[in-house]
Amino acid sequence: MNEQQEDYIVEVKDVSMRFNLSKEKVDNLKEYVVKFLKRQLLFDEFYALRKVSFSVRRGEPFAIIGENGCGKSTLLKVISGIFYPTQGSVDVRGSVAPLIELGAGFDMDLTARENIFLNGAVLGYDTAFMEQKFQEIMDFAELWDFVDVPVKNFSSGMVARLGFSIATVVVPDILIVDEILSVGDFMFQQKCERKMQEMIDQGATLIFVSHSSEQVKRLCKKAVWLKHGVVQMIGDAAEVSDAYVHDMETGGHGLVQQSEADAKRDEEEAAPAPETKAPRRTFPFLTLLRAAAIAMIVWDHLGPFRNPQWLPGRLVENMINRPLGIIQSFGALGVILFFLSSGFLLAHGGGRGSRFTYAAKRVLKIYPPLLLSFASFFVVQRLLSFITGAPNYWSQFTPRQWLFGGTLLNYLFGEPDVINGTTWYLFPTLLFYFLGFLFYSWLHEKPRTAVFALEAVLAACYGAFTALNLPLALGEVARMSWYLVFPVFGMLLYYLWSGQMGFPSFLLLGSVNYLLMIKGISMFNPDYYESLPYAVSFAYAFLLFSIALLLNDRIKSFRAVGYLAKISYSVYVTHMTYGSLLLTLLAPRLGFTVSFILTVLSAFVIAAVHYQAAEKPVSRFLRRNFES
């Protein structure tokens, strides 16, 4: 069996070759952008070869026949390694001397002598060897009179002679010959054919392309007949070329026809299409966690954070948070839950489809709601201060601060977000998505590499922050980078859960990530190390997340919870500004408890309105354009 296989010198298996003929017409800019993002610009396809398979036995001259444009030359180029097949594989066991286009690789400005050495090098022969063979090549080409003349002054026949002499200087295992013998004068053609016969006698296997059945019958034993890139017949050279001639005489319908549809279907079965979707899975546990997280954050920001003396807040603080070491009245816990779920979802959906689509989606999900929340609040607080006639907290900020806050640019300039106060979370999130964009193709196929690369980037950020005197923007990126350990934990959990990563890798990469977290906390936020232990909140969030993940199939989501999770991002970007404004208005009049309840309720209503105005149209746009 093994010997049998060794006997084949060329094996072509299921080779298809696809070319993009021309760019599709695109009418408008929006379509162009969408098509670009989806990587569909190059669309007009043409198959030069379709599922071609055959084998060539060692020492058995083989012919490829067919009319012009049937894919013969493409096939030769695939065999000689110039084209990579779109599908299928080619096994070549031995050296190849392609006599495809003689004189390819000549530099017209150089002389014949220089070109012999250059072309020899193109074929992979070293200088010493070429010096040895120089005499022989020139003798065969009969061009001694022109040895130091630039090749541009040669006639095409002379170029072909020189090319042939160089290409045949070594007896190769496989000799690939396209219809070249029509070049040069009759004498030289005879000489070439003799030389080829000589090489075949010395053990070279000939692969010969022609549409002349005479030549094929004379030189070859086996043959394949191609038509429109599809194999019509494989077998004895005489039989195949007779069938070919017969077919030509009777109108050229061919024997085998493969319709476009068949080919398409075959192709889809053979290889997974590039745009495969992530398996549709729902994660009710994420819905629950997102709702819980946003509730925690709102509780923190509008409750105990605003009024530390508030009785219900104090109770929760004294009974739960303080003894359990939960910081920021659940605020940090909520944010970490968000981070974990971002990482989890990226690991789940990432790596499939185009990375540009992914990037566009992420940017469109983050920015419009953010911009809208700043714009609407700007108007509302201006109106309010106009009506009441008194300036409020937000009157002090400059247009630049509003603009920078709404676009997150303030972080690049090392300024805190004074207007909203919660947008800091978006900066590491964007950074995370950006790295996800960079390592996109690994997310699905090489989870370990992806996680490792992310951790390496974090380590590099830490290192650069300590060792180099980073300019402002980069310094800020490095300073915020440590928050990325949280989404990375989310990714690790997904990979472990889905079985894409074994437990040892999870443990190893997880430990590295843990160390990065601790190092990040102590380096960038020393407060969070001991007096406000962030890692404790992380531990709770991690446990909560893991337990919820394990219970995923048993979790039933209520509609209200589902809706809260859906608008959670809008709640996040609006609750702080509107909530603070309402609280300062209501609390002196109604007492804190009543105004807290009213404020929270209105915050949800305001967020719902923002959701309708920004997030919903965006997701509809995304669904229409990217998910068909």
Binding site: F19, N20, S80, G81, I82, F83, Y84, V96, P98, I100, E101, A104, G105, D107, D109, L110, E114, F117, L118, G120, A121, V122, L123, G124, Y125, D126, T127, A460, A467, L468, N469, L470, P471, L472, L474
Partner: protein
């Protein structure tokens, strides 16, 4: 699965061995074609930076004055490094497109083309070093043993340019506008690199950005060694090595990923 990378490395090595003659030939050809029919030939590699340095030091010594001791050396060190970078990357960018006829007809490892272009520019850079020596002698620059470290910055800029060359050659295939855009980019890059002005003359707030500019790092290293006779700092070394590694890694990765489809786009 475990054996695959090793096999891959072995075939890559064999391929490299087979085609290293070609690499050398291509470098030779570039040099030959570059100076073909010029009377002074290779001498131009030495004369060019010298003459440029003379012009620029006249301009910047009389018209715009910078307070830099030993200005000619300061200028020529920066200038030959930057010229090498811009020339080699520019040539590497066109290398895939320019060798269509070969790539379409014979199998040759494609990275050979950008790499050979960078190497042939590097040979020119080595010739230009003679110009530095001439200027050093003329200005009586003190020579210290530290000068033996001079190959270090040259190695940086070589590796960096190779990486950039690989990246650009891929870009040029898929995004032809790059060839036009890159000229503008290198000009901007040149002005953002302290070649003929001292870094201190830039506003304090922008300086940290300029200090991350890889070419400034390399040039600074070269000047420290040649002009000031000081061993380059650890910071400079770390940052330079990081740039080289990252750009080279990205270049190799991008090139390997994209090379199979070159032929469909050129």
């Amino acid at each position: 699965m475990g054996r695959k990378p090793l096999n891959e490395m072995k075939t890559q090595f064999l391929k490299w061995k087979k085609y290293k003659t070609l690499l050398m030939r291509l470098v030779q050809r570039d040099l030959k074609v570059k100076y073909r029919r010029s009377v002074l030939g290779y001498l131009w590699s030495l004369l060019n930076p010298l003459l440029m340095m003379v012009v620029m030091s006249v301009v910047f010594s009389y018209m715009f004055r910078f307070d830099i001791p030993n200005y000619p050396i300061y200028l020529i060190t920066g200038q030959i490094m930057f010229t090498f970078f811009s020339e080699s990357t520019n040539m590497a960018m066109g290398s895939i497109i320019g060798n269509v006829s070969l790539i379409k007809k014979v199998y040759v490892p494609k990275y050979i083309f950008p790499i050979s272009r960078v190497l042939s520019s590097f040979v020119t850079l080595l010739f230009s070093l003679a110009a530095v020596v001439v200027v050093m002698l003329a200005t009586r620059t003190p020579v210290t043993p530290v000068i033996l470290l001079f190959p270090l910055p040259l190695a940086y800029v070589l590796v960096f340019s190779m990486g950039m060359g690989l990246i650009l050659s891929v870009f040029a295939v898929y995004f032809r506008d790059m060839t036009h855009l890159y000229g503008v980019m290198t000009t901007a890059w040149m002005y953002l690199t302290p070649i003929f002005y001292p870094i201190e003359s830039i506003p304090e707030s922008v300086q940290p950005f300029i200090r991350l500019n890889p070419l400034f790092l390399f040039i600074d290293c070269f000047r420290e060694i040649v002009l000031y006779g000081r061993v380059p700092t650890l910071q400079n070394t770390a940052a330079s090595c990081a740039w080289c590694l990252v750009v080279m890694a990205v270049g190799i990765w991008l090139f390997r990923k994209r090379q199979a489809n070159f032929i469909l786009h050129i």
